[in-house]
Amino acid sequence: MSLVQFESFTSSVDPDYWYELENKKLTEFKLDNTERDIYATYNTGGEHEQVSSRIRLSRGAFNKQDTFNTMSVYDFSSPGTLLNSNTMEDFKNLDKKAIIKEVAKKIYDSIVSGDWINDPTLLTRFYLISYAELKQHVFYHWFAFPAITPTQALTSPTSSHLIGKTFNEEQVEQLRVAYDMYRTDNHIRDRSFFVVVHNQTSNTLTINSFSSYKEEQSSDSKVYFAFADPSSLESHPGWPLRNFSLAVSHRFPTHSVYTFLCIREIPNKRDLSRSLFIDINQATLSDPSKMVAVGWEKTLNKSRPKIADMGQMMDPIKLAESSVRLNLELMKWRMFPSLDLNKLSNTKCLLVGAGTLGCHVARNLMAWGCFNITFIDRTKVSFSNPVRQPLYEYVDCLNGGANKAQCAADHVKKIYPNANANAYSLDIPMPGHPYDDSHKEAVQSHYEQMNELIKSHDVIYLLTDTRESRWLPTLLATANDKIVINAALGFDSYLVMRHGQPNHTNRLGCYFCFDVVAPVDSTKDRTLDQQCTVTRPGVSAVAGSLAVELLVAMLHHKLESNAPASIVGSQDQGELGFIPHQIRGSMSNFQNALMTGSAYNQCTACSDAIVKEYKKNGFDFLHKVFNRSKLLEELTGLDQLQQKTQGMLDEMEFIDEDDEEYQFM
């Protein structure tokens, strides 16, 4: 009599399983930590002891059918349960004794009820607890493969021996062929445990599933209880035999000794020669109340969880992608469940101007997972830029300076390689900036490229450093009914606003709607400090982030860009709260004011008069405006308005002494 010892299962988890868990945790489970059904697979023991008794979880683990679909005839399935804790603390505090007892009790019940006959895989039921440290892609986990302890330890009257000692070669081959056919004809769940009947008179081997097997009465038949054995060790059968031998003892109680056939097939080699025979004495189950089970997996001979560190294994680009996604998905758990990440990632943004504002807007768009970014800028990176413009570095200023738009796009890709960043070095034609006729063709080509870019993007960001350079994109965006977010800086102040669109209800004003003069060349006759962006450095970062937050808030309102402007006390808000028309902020008192203003029917950029004229005459009209911006005031009637006030000043009415300090109009 000798004690039978078993080789326990060793868990082996595919990185794909962790990706899948991470994905499900983020998008499906979130904070819900109820138990989930999972399915593992194992092979029979092969030649290599290193891979003996491996049980594996892969990508399809969460779906029974997916698991079955990927299984070959050499794979065996095992049903399990996942409990993924929300915190490390929860994971540590799980009552592992209670867990294994509960799972073992299920196995116990299926033995007593006979349910295992129809689904023998129930004997290999396992349990997995885990905690996913998603930021680092580290997964703490611990498997339990419960084995019920019988009233007395399992013993064998003889010792185990290789199949060749009992079966001759011909019989082994017969068994192999019969097993092949059996696997093809029977359900996956009947593959791993079955009955081999050897009729010694006719010397035939037949295989039966437990559900079809009727206990043999004939004395010339020898019955072997067979199972797919994951162990490769000659001295030890594998773990499934523990519960299996109890189940067999309980089901066929008249025997005193059972012969088990541990099938070990080297996949694809048609070789069963390493299979074992082992006799095990009748064993009995304890009372349910006294049931004891073992089976928490040991790691390096110690009782402790395993750690899967996927951070190092993942493709770095994939890692970046999933990490970025993770950060955003986390918002959906509690703070902002209606966050529409797909909408953001599909929005194409055209950034007109890649200076301080352009850099900050790009960075904030990326932070929201919005990676379709196109830059327009005609300048080169200069030595003063990098300290204020976070997409440039010192080296970009060398050798005359890199092309700014391209350099910005390159840096966006350095920050996030999957970004769809593009660059166009374009001169934006401007009202009041005349040019020789020899340049007309070039100007026209720049206008045409700009127009195409505006058409192919969803959101136009106006981030240039003069008023007049914002005119053409404002007009083109209006003509093409695009969203415009306009940001402009003063020394210690900033303006961030959205433009109204032609078909909006209560159409909001554009940048040009609130003054009564056409844009002209603002760089002429200006001193250096007036020509350059001389601002408190913080204003561009603040304005840049507000310009992005405004867009995101707007995209999360059911009316999107048509959302009414909210001001203090306003009820009409989107999923993210306020969607103002204008945010006017000042660093001198650290305050923001939300302002609202309607579109002006005499606006020099967005009024019908201008848009109609542009649609009618296209570049010919623009060409005239670039050379003489007064045309805009003539078309909109602003010239008459100005003349009227001029007249009022010239012919002041008689004013008596009481009214001296007043200006009459």
Partner: protein, 123 residues
């Protein structure tokens, strides 16, 4: 930005202001008293102070007319952009007549207070 500020308001008592606005309204029917002052909230984009910050304006004139007048008074270059606002958050529609703005935003002292500020343009 926030709370509107007015030098005129600070330097003149409430009763004097009421008296003054009533005087103007009865003396100049069809016109409204308006105070237009520079917004003090920031130092950048500084526009000049108006020589005359008090206006008596025909009700039919629009914000656009007022803006044009303010620009003329300041002799603002045409490359300088500005905007007018009243109250905390309203940029009155440029095309709307002053009678409308007056009845909506006039102070309890009978004056309409409007502030102006230079528009930002840098990037």
């Amino acid at each position: 930005m926030g709370i509107p500020n007015s030098k005129y308001k600070e330097q003149t008592s409430f009763s004097d202001r009421i008296q003054e606005s009533n005087r103007i309204k009865s003396k100049h029917p069809g016109r409204v008293p308006v105070v237009v002052e520079r917004y003090q909230g920031w130092s950048g984009e500084q526009l000049p102070e108006l020589k005359r910050s008090k206006f008596i304006i025909k009700e039919c004139f629009t914000m656009g007319h007022l803006m044009s007048m303010v620009r003329e008074q300041m002799e603002l270059r045409s490359d300088q952009q500005m905007f007018l606002f009243c109250g905390r958050s309203e940029i009155p529609p440029t095309a709307v007549p002053l009678s409308h703005i007056y009845s909506r935003y006039k102070d309890e002292d009978g004056f309409l207070y409007i502030q102006y500020a230079g528009e930002s343009a840098f990037g």
